[in-house]
Amino acid sequence: MRSPALAIAWEFRRRHRWGLIAVAGYLFVVATIRFLILEPGEPVLVDSVRFAAVVSVPLTTTFVYLLAVFSFGFAGDLGARHSMYPARMFTLPVTNAALVGWPMLYGTVAMAILWLAARLVAVWPSGIAIPVIWPALLAASLLAWTQALTWMPYGLPGIRLIVAVLCLAALDTVVLLAMHFKAGEPMMLGILAPQVPLAYLVARFAVARARRGDVPDWRGLSARSGDIADLLPRPRDHFSSPERAQVWFEWRRHGRSLPALVGLVLPFELALLWLAKDAPAFVFEILFLVLITPPFVAAFTAWTVSKPNPHMRDSYGVPPFFATRPLTSAQLIAAKLQMAMGSTLAAWLLVFVALPLALAWSGTWSVMMDRVQRMNGAIGASRAVVFVMLVLTGFIVTTWKQLVQSLHIGLTGREWLIKGSVLLTLTFLVLLGPIVEWFIDSPSVQRASWNALPLILAGLVALKMSAAAWIATRLNRSRLLGDRALFVGAACWCVAVLALYAVLVWFVSTPFVAHYLLALIAILAVPLVRLAAAPLALAWNRHR
């Protein structure tokens, strides 16, 4: 290895050789289909599902994979404050320009090759004009910005994800708008050409900052309430129990992130209400945006909640300080669940206080009331109240669920499992679009699905209850939960299911939906398996 450039290239190739071989294999297979199986010159008629299966889904997956490879995403921690650029490389005797430039160049070349190869060998439907350069440039731009934004050190855990998603979505939106207005290739190149150099400058700044250890720490800001509390007489009382102490620990470590982030985003969203005075429909879009903010932000902060040691980089194991608390793994999980509940309620308290004030001050309250009165007239006051309560409860429970539902994965401490689940989720999200489109476009599939709905739901319920029984047995055998705790837990879950079922029966009073279907829905809706698996996951990690 005679140069840093070659050494960096070798590292990418050596570490990801199997993935890169798989990409090459995919391109080889589609090239074989294109050039050997399909007759050259023949028009190609592929429907959207086949096109998705053969071209768009594998291409998107490959694109996401290359994003992770060239931004060092497999080795870093998306949720951490520190740069995701490997710290071991900061001590190499090379300039910041080299540290940034080579991975960015290799990534750009890889994206360009991917697009050009796909354009050349993939099976595209006849009659559509496939652009030459700008998709490659778009992929390179998205990669460059991903690199810049993931290598940047941030002041708070979890901010990286939010900033990256917002910036990449903004770039995507600009490109989609340009496509919508049928912009030509020169216009697209004009939009995209400056992106890579701009991202390079940002990435250089990010790496320079990370290299000199300049990591901003805004935890002081998020803990401003803690500083204010310091001015007040500090609580000197002792904790009444170890469990209370652990809840306090979890709250101080994770609990304030969600309300703080929701509090940061909310003013900007609510400010839109002043612009929407004359557009009632827009008011409800803003309202929806406000209501999905806590669960959306919770999905990101969950990353740190489910990680045993968020403040230590590249660490999935349980730190000794946490592992040696004289509490059972079930008690440690219970503290996390209580913290998540407190965090959720604090975030929603902010929403419930800020939203009516903003509606009143912006003059859009009347628009709200008008819609409420219309709903009253349509379904009756009591049903309207229950409907609103159900929706709000649904949002609150979803927020809490977002915070805790990945505990059973994150707390295992097994890197392969955590990263595998992320990959599976991404694959599912990529596949979701084509599946939904296929479902919408196929009346026969819709009819068959509707007819089979009871069976599908019953199958899912059977799966859920079998998994729950297996987990309960494991919990009992490993002495993580005693008989009494298991019985109380099961009873609470049954009460929640029955309550939801009763509300659904009362609300959905139509002969078209059988009551047993509502019962199945209630059983599936109330969380059980993933929550119950969390103590097992922690114990697996804590006692390796």
Partner: protein, 247 residues
């Protein structure tokens, strides 16, 4: 027996970290655990704390399995980790308040005495403390509940020489005189020689020597000359392994 390890074997992939290790530690003594880098000392300590599950063999602490019954075992152990991973966001007084909740035997007076002896500002954030100060804070919470078993994993690596010489040794001796047990790993053999009653030398996952310090000295005597622990260690594990003895 406070600690009873029987035929404990642990593998990490192809590496055997512990090979049929058996050890018994009665109450009221100071045990020094020494060995070269990667010898298996921290792995053994982690098994005793229940942070690693015995793949084969058994580990009993106070007669209990530390994996199956972590609360009963850990509430009687004071532990200072080599990793020094106290939460950086806590203040010293918060750390004391938090730790107090887990140990019914926590002694407020003793905790305050230790805090003053270690010169720790109660309002200081752990994250802003120096490495040595963090080690002192860790030692404070390990000691303040007067544990029946004190486990110190490389305490010397974080503590400055003054605390190490004047405080650590005194604390360890006091604990032993009170009939409690101390297990500590160290790469400073003269320190082990100064405070330990019983020395266990571990090499490549196997215990090569485990006996009272006086017996070890006596059995390695060359005429009138009693060799140092350093010389005895070299004689047992070889010069190469003894170059950088560490936990």
């Amino acid at each position: 027996m406070v600690i009873s390890v029987s035929e404990l074997t642990r593998r990490f992939g192809a590496t055997t970290a512990l090979a049929s290790v058996s050890l018994a530690m009665p109450r009221g003594a100071v045990y020094g655990l020494v060995g070269a880098n990667g010898a298996g000392k921290t792995t053994l300590i982690k098994h005793i704390l229940g942070l690693l599950r015995a793949e084969s063999g058994s580990v009993r602490v106070f007669g209990l399995d530390p994996v199956a019954d972590p609360v009963a075992v850990l509430s009687r152990i004071g532990y200072l980790s080599e990793e020094n991973d106290l939460p950086g966001w806590m203040r010293v007084d918060e750390l004391m308040r938090y730790s107090r909740a887990f140990y019914p035997a926590w002694d407020d007076g003793y905790a305050e005495e230790l805090r003053q002896a270690f010169a720790l500002d109660p309002a200081a954030k752990i994250g802003n403390l120096s490495r040595g100060q963090r080690a002192r804070a860790g030692l404070l919470i390990a000691l303040a509940h007067r544990p029946e078993l004190l486990v110190l994993d490389e305490p010397s690596s974080g503590l400055d020489p003054i605390v190490r010489r004047d405080i650590l040794g005194a604390v360890i001796r006091t604990i032993a005189h009170e009939g409690r047990t101390v297990l500590f790993s160290s790469h400073l053999l003269e320190e082990v020689e100064r405070v330990a009653d019983h020395v266990t030398m571990i090499h490549q996952g196997k215990i090569v020597v485990s006996a009272p310090l006086d017996d070890i000295r006596e059995s390695n005597r060359v005429g009138e000359r009693v060799p140092s622990l350093d010389e005895i260690f070299v004689a047992h594990v070889g010069r190469d392994a003894a170059q950088a003895p560490e936990a």
